[in-house]
Every structure is written in structure tokens, then in C-alpha cells.
């Protein structure tokens, strides 16, 4: 009858694709094997509660010595740096938290994680035990912050412990997004956004030192959703913004806060006249938070990302549009629509030239800031693309040559439970012959030089490109690495970190790192610690008697 086609297509083997029990503990790439190094998770009892309600996101926090931002590498000047550390430690002790801080040190098995490490070798003759105490006392190290259900969990990135060292429970709503600023000037470096729209800023160090299961010393913004009760979708510190941060909500609005200002302000903003248009409104009183509201789009904003230098802000949302703003000018510069469906994630290249987006069309999209358009579509995911990131530590094998072909490496993860790695070599991407505007001659353009956008006014959003107009990329490798749909990917100097929606995190060591790193210490810890460690150990080591 009408439906004959359907009967004939029943040959494909869907059943064969059922969950394969064993996932591999490595994946191969042209440069070698990435090996599963650590897994991080959370108490399993939470799973049923969290299922389907929240999606786990991960933030990496590198806690440095204080004051951290400008530590010169030369030995003499590191004296001052370390004395800074000491005074910070003293300050902490003096606040009345001292005993608890030390309790934290003991409780987390600090000595275990450091004993016999290569770092101590590099310290030379100093007493090893004293350096251990100090490090943990200070909470220094690299941490993973992730949300599951009604809790925020904190794990030590460089320990083999699967379980988190700290959990913070929220009674009012579920935490859904977070951000860390490792150059924060005063104590508050961690932002947490909730499902209810509430936002907190806290000091990560202070949370680590506290033994309780509640947030301590927090500033509370948008209390009970007083300014905006839409779910927090994404939160970010403004790079170099002197304590300014932005929160994107599910109703298409983004708010700018300054942590130096009062959390419980009473900012009010005028009614949005045209829901379809971008508009910025500033708070009437300069002392209250939030200081500004950006109405970006109708419907949820799903993710935001600042360029490394903080000049540009990219947003993606339910309406499928990528929007790029000049942050300080509060201006929409450019943007464009997905092939179809919502966009779910976005990320900048280190040099600010490209933006990756991923979404419900299963495509990884490469947006060029120079061309102000999509220059490539990555095809290879079998489901929605939920996380994208450039590998800023990647250096292409032939980059020492003329330097004309810049190759970028990036990764993407999707709800197909897979990690895909891609190479982007802009010279190889040639936009196919286009039918230009009526009357215009067909033009052949490459990704690096194009004049198409010259006549496009600033702030114009491009419609969805046609399938045949966008060059396609194929993934370098594609590996199924989790059993659950993935929600994020992060590249660090020595590893790739992947996380699934349900809150299981895997850390994959880069080729070359996995072999040499049998101990718990990673390169970042080595590099930060080797500068200051000798002095620290001798000076602040006085607390070692407590061990």
C-alpha cells in the first residue's frame, strides 16, 4: 500500500549496537595513545535524584599561592612571593578558621598524595614532610569542580581518588553552572549559578578549609530570583574585568555584576520593549548589583564564552544563533544561525580568531571572526554536540616551518557518548564556488582572505547556510569513551578531561605524559611548585609538628 518502503529498511542492525560492556582505557590518535589516568565521580546514591534534572558541568580551578598573579621565576624574587604565601596562611589562621583548616589537611590525606613524588626530589635538601603540610594547608593545587543534583563536588585533579574531597549541598535549588577565576584579586574566585536563578560568589580555598557541607562566606546575588528567576544557563568571569562577572539566564537575558558591589542590591530594569531585539539597560543606582542587563534573545541562552583577552563575548542559544559582542562597547558585532536547531556550546580559539559551536544539528561549526561567517562544518557526531574546545596546548608537527599554515586542534563531545578530535588547517579549507548575490560574480574564497563581509553591516546575523555552501571537515579520530551522553570537554597541558551528564569524569593523559607520570603529580603542579617550594618548605614548615 502506501508504506512499502518502511518494510524494506528493517535490515540495519540496531540491536548489535547495544551497550558494549567494556569501554577501552585508552584511545589512539596519530600522535599516540591517550590513556585513561583517573576517573572522578560522586556518591552513587545521588544518581536517581539527579537523573534528567541537571546536567553536570566541570570547571578546573588552579589554586595558586597567594598572592599568585605575578610570581617572577628568578630565585631571589621568589622570596617575596613565598612570604606572601606565609602571610596569607597566617591570615587564614588568624580568622578563627585555623583549627578547621588544619583538620582539612589531615582529613584529606595530604601526606599520602605527595609522598615520594618527583617534586620533592626537585626540592633538594629541604625537609619533605614540612613542604607537604604547607601545600595542603594552603589548598594549593588543581581542583575539579562539578555539579550533580543538589550538590557541588570538588575533587583533586591530581589524585587517584575517585571520590570528591568536598561536597557542598544546596537546599534551595540545584547548582547548574560555575566558573573560577585564578587571578581573582580578593578571596572570591568561584561563581556558582543555580536552577532558581540565584548566584553565589565564594572563595574556593575557604570552602576547602571548611569541613561542613554548606557554602561558607558566600555573597548571594539575585536572591530567590529577585532580579531574574530564570535558570542560570552559563556564568563567567570577565577576563581582566577586575571582579566583574556575567550570568546568562534561560529567558534570554544576561546580567553583569561586580563582586565589589553589594550582593543584595535592588537593581531594577525597564521592561524590554522588543523581545526580538538586542538591548542593554544599566542599573539606575551605581552601587547596586547587577549593574547591567543585556537582553540577548528570545528563549534560553545555552552557553557563553569570553575570548581570552576579554574583548569579545560569544553566546549561543535555543534560537540556534551564535552572537558575538564587543563586551566593553556593549555591541553586537556579528553572528549566525546553526544549520538547524539550538546551539548548545561554544568556545574560542586562544588567538580569538575562531569560535567553535556545537548543537542539535549534530554539527561542529567553525566560525571565523575574520570572515564573520561559518567557514567549516565538522560532520561526525551521531547525536547532539554538547561540548567543544580548542586544544590550546597543541602544537602542530610542522609549526616550526614557515608558519604559514596555522593548524588548530580541537575536540568535541556529544550525546553519542563519543569524543572526536579534529585538525583545522585553514589553507586547506576552500569555500566551494558560491552563487553570489544577484549580479555579483561568483567568487572563490579561502578561509584566510575574504571580503564578503565588507558590505555586511555590523551586528547583522547571518541566516543558516545551505548544506552545499559550507566546507566539511572529518574528524581525525572518533572514540566512544563513556556509557552516558557527554556534557563537556576540557584540554589541560597534560590531559583531556571528559564529563558525562550524570557526573562521571574521565581524565585522559596525553601521549608521553601517561608513561612518565606514575606518581600523583602532574606537570602543572611541578611547574608552579618548583618555583616557590624550597622557601615555602623551610619557612612555613613550622607547622609540621602538627603532623
Amino acid at each position: 500500500m502506501i508504506n512499502p518502503a518502511n518494510g524494506m529498511i528493517s535490515t540495519s542492525s540496531a540491536a548489535a549496537n547495544a551497550q558494549s560492556p567494556g569501554l577501552k582505557t585508552y584511545f589512539k590518535t596519530p600522535e599516540g595513545r591517550y590513556k585513561l589516568h583517573y576517573e572522578k565521580t560522586h556518591p552513587s546514591g545521588l544518581l536517581h535524584y539527579a537523573h534528567g534534572k541537571t546536567v553536570t558541568q566541570v570547571t578546573i580551578a588552579n589554586l595558586k599561592d597567594k598572592p599568585a598573579p605575578s610570581t617572577p621565576p628568578a630565585p631571589p624574587s621568589s622570596f617575596s612571593a613565598s612570604s606572601g604565601v606565609r602571610s596569607a596562611a597566617a591570615r587564614l589562621l588568624g580568622t578563627g578558621n585555623g583549627s578547621r583548616a588544619l583538620g582539612f589537611v589531615g582529613g584529606n590525606g595530604g601526606s599520602k598524595s605527595l609522598s615520594g613524588s618527583s617534586r620533592i626530589g626537585s626540592l633538594g635538601a629541604s625537609s619533605s614532610s614540612s613542604s607537604i603540610i604547607n601545600t595542603n594547608f594552603d589548598g594549593k593545587g588543581t581542583y575539579i569542580i562539578f555539579n550533580v543534583g543538589d550538590a557541588i563536588f570538588i575533587s583533586d585533579l591530581n589524585s587517584q581518588d575517585k571520590d570528591p574531597i568536598k561536597s557542598i549541598h544546596f537546599s534551595n535549588s540545584n547548582p547548574v553552572c560555575h566558573a573560577f577565576d585564578q587571578d581573582a584579586k580578593d578571596g572570591h574566585d568561584l561563581l556558582i549559578g543555580l536552577n532558581s536563578g540565584d548566584v553565589y560568589s565564594v572563595s574556593l580555598r575557604q570552602q576547602l578549609q571548611d569541613v561542613g557541607k554548606k557554602l561558607v562566606g558566600a555573597h548571594h546575588y539575585n536572591k530567590d530570583g529577585s532580579v531574574n528567576n530564570g535558570r542560570c544557563a552559563s556564568i563567567a568571569w570577565v577576563p581582566g574585568g577586575d571582579g566583574a562577572f556575567v550570568v546568562a539566564h534561560a529567558d534570554g537575558n544576561l546580567y553583569v555584576y561586580e563582586k565589589s558591589k553589594d550582593g543584595a542590591g535592588d537593581s531594577s530594569f525597564p521592561v524590554i520593549k522588543d523581545q526580538t531585539q538586542f538591548s542593554v539597560a544599566h542599573a539606575r543606582y551605581s552601587k547596586s548589583n547587577p549593574i547591567a542587563r543585556w537582553h540577548i534573545c528570545q528563549g534560553p541562552i545555552n552557553s557563553i564564552s569570553f575570548s581570552t583577552d576579554g574583548t569579545h563575548l560569544a553566546t549561543v542559544g535555543r534560537d540556534g544563533y551564535l552572537r558575538v559582542f564587543d563586551y566593553s562597547k556593549e555591541q553586537l558585532i556579528c553572528g549566525g544561525k546553526s544549520y538547524y536547531g539550538a546551539l548548545l556550546c561554544c568556545a574560542w580559539s586562544m588567538d580569538g580568531k575562531y569560535i567553535l559551536t556545537g548543537g542539535e544539528d549534530d554539527l561542529v561549526q567553525v566560525w571565523s571572526m575574520e570572515d564573520r561567517k561559518v567557514v567549516a562544518w565538522g560532520e561526525g557526531h551521531n547525536s547532539w554536540v554538547s561540548g567543544v574546545a580548542f586544544d590550546s596546548y597543541w602544537s602542530s608537527p610542522n609549526s616550526d616551518g614557515t608558519g604559514e599554515t596555522v593548524m588548530y586542534r580541537f575536540g568535541s563531545v556529544g550525546q553519542d557518548t563519543r569524543l572526536l578530535l579534529w585538525d583545522l588547517e585553514m589553507d586547506e579549507i576552500v569555500v566551494p564556488l558560491r552563487r553570489g548575490p544577484p549580479g555579483g560574480s561568483p567568487t572563490f574564497s579561502t578561509g584566510s582572505q575574504s571580503a564578503h563581509w565588507d558590505n555586511v553591516p555590523v551586528g547583522t546575523l547571518q541566516p543558516a547556510p545551505s548544506m552545499r555552501d559550507v566546507p566539511k571537515l572529518s574528524p581525525l579520530v572518533a572514540h566512544r569513551i563513556h556509557t552516558e551522553p557527554l556534557s563537556g570537554v576540557i584540554f589541560t597541558q597534560e590531559s583531556v578531561l571528559t564529563v558525562c551528564r550524570e557526573g562521571h569524569i574521565k581524565i585522559w593523559m596525553r601521549p608521553g605524559f601517561a608513561e612518565s607520570q606514575s606518581s600523583n603529580n602532574s606537570e602543572t603542579l611541578l611547574s608552579t611548585s618548583s618555583k616557590e617550594k624550597p622557601l615555602l618548605s623551610s619557612k612555613v614548615g613550622s607547622s609540621s609538628y602538627r603532623q
Binding site: N3, A250, S383
Partner: protein, 369 residues
Amino acid sequence: MGAAGSKLEKALGDQFPEGERYFGLENFGNTCYCNSVLQALYFCVPFREQLLDYYANNKNIGDAEENLLTCLADLFTQISSQKKKTGVIAPKRFVQRLKKQNELFRSYMHQDAHEFLNFLLNELVDILEKETQAAKSDPETSSPTEKTANGPKNGQLNGVRKEPLVTWVHTNFQGILTNETKCLRCETVTARDETFFDLSLDIEQNSSITSCLKNFSSTETLNAEDKFFCDKCCSLQEAQKRMKIKKPPHILVIHLKRFKYIEQLGRYKKLSYRVVFPLELKLSNTVEDADIEYSLFAVVVHVGSGPNHGHYVSLVKSHNHWLFFDDENVEMIDESAVQTFFGSAQEYSSNTDHGYILFYESLGASNKS
């Protein structure tokens, strides 16, 4: 029931779309398969309007005998002409007629919603065709069903001279697939067209509809026991076969094959796979890169862990609001709630509500050029 209705009215407030009616349908013992599909069809606006138009124009034709078409039209008219904005209606006549018409649906057993949809659409076409033939023999009454938007290519490509009748059911739901077979010896490509009212897709764990559609159109090699008889070579040959969409339908109905016969078990099993479906969709497996955008407006959801029992509900988008229809209950839901019906990433999960039939409507504008 009345309370649920007023609750919905309260929820919509002054956003209640003018002239729209949201009515639950009473269940007559396992008739949720029927109710869920009827709601999806009711909120398929072009279909509803054309059915009501047709009914208005043909009502007086000598009080024709009752059939599924008249029963469906009656039901839709009954809903749309209610004074109240919300409430419950008993689709009694329709269900009785359905049971009379097809013994498959006569029992009180759990039925397959997709089978019902398929049966209903084909039945409607049969009735319309019969009426047209009757009208042709009686030239006095001209039927509005005659050749509406009969694509010029259709007749010839099917290789049949007799022009197929295109009813308003066809203009809404019918698409054309082309089945291309390439003989690997002489490289001749044989194309055979077939029409469809819906696409039945094999599904995989943790995949998307986009990916399932790609697999649907992936190239398949015919060899060994399954060779292709090439007319040019006059013998069985190895060949490559693929299925593409030649004419995308206005209303794209996608059926997920969640009920699979497992040979080892000797019975059907429900696949609870997580298959994500976007609220907007474009077809990549078309003959021409048409880039036609579709928008999701209804989902028939199967609730339950097995194929022989369970429940059907539907999600419907009407005037930019999402509604949840569960027999007589109607509730407003958030758009983001749609994603709780994707399925389970793990085989054993407490979540048993799975999208089963998806209804997408073409947004019309194709960005060609």
C-alpha cells in the same frame, strides 16, 4: 476533570489562543493509542482545517453512510465548536466505527499507535478515492478532492499512465522516496519511486533523529544471497542500493522502531534507547539539497517497558505553547520538558516515557540559491 480544565485555562490566562480548544479524550479501555494519535492529528492544523472544510462542503451529500472519515470529521467538529475552551470529550462514535472497521483494533488489548495512524490515513484515502470515483460517474457534483496540487512529475515517474488521485491527505502527508540501485557490473542506476505517509526508522542507542535518517539513506550492498537482478545484464549481480527522499512531505511523520523482534527471545522487545529529536529539523538525505526546515509540533509517547502493555500520551505544540495530553487530562508544559521523552541512556532505567511518533511540519521557505 473540570478542575484540570480550568487549571489549564488559568495557566494560559490571556494567552489562551483565540478560537482554539484544548479537550481531553475519554479512554474506552486501552484506547490511549487512539487518543494520542487523534490529538496529534487535531493539532496538525492544515490537516484539521482541510478535514473540517471537506466536511462542511460534503455534509449534505444525501446523508451518506457513516465511515471513519465522517466519524473523524464529526469528532473534530465537535471539539472545535465547543463553547468551553477546555474539557473532556468522548470519542465514542469514532472508536466504535474503528472497531467495526478493523478487527485488529476490536479487542481491549494494547494496540500500536503507529499501526493505528497508518490504518487511519490509508482508510481516509480509500474513502476519498471512492467518493471521487462516485462523483466522476455523477458529473453533477464535483468533489473538491480532485487533483489538488498534483505534482507534474508524479504521473510519469511512477511509470503508470493512470494518474494517481491526490487527496488532501496526500498533500499533507505524502512524500516520495526513490530507491536507487546501481549494478556493480554495468553501473546502470535503476531508480524506483515509492510514496510514503511516514518514515519508519531503525534506532540506535544514544543517537539523534538526524543520525537515524542518515542511516536510513546509507548505501547498502546487495551481494551473496541477496543479489540484484539487473535488467541490462539480464542476470543477478552485486549492486549498491540506497534510499533517498525525492519529494519531502509537508507533514513529516517519523516513526521510531522501538518495538523490535528479537529472534533469540522469540518475541518483541521495547528498545528504550535515548534518541534525541530536535525541535527543528532539516533533511540531509534528499535528492536535491533542499534545506527545507521542519518544526516539531507533536510527539506520540509510549509509556512502559514492554511492547504489549503500557500507555500512550502525546505532546502537542499549539500557538507556541507545549501541551501534554494524557487521555482526558490536558496540561501545559515547558518546551524544555520535551527532552524528558528522549529515552534512556542505560538499558535499565526508571524512565519509561519514550518518544515514538514524531510529527514535523515544513516551515515552507526553502533557502535555495
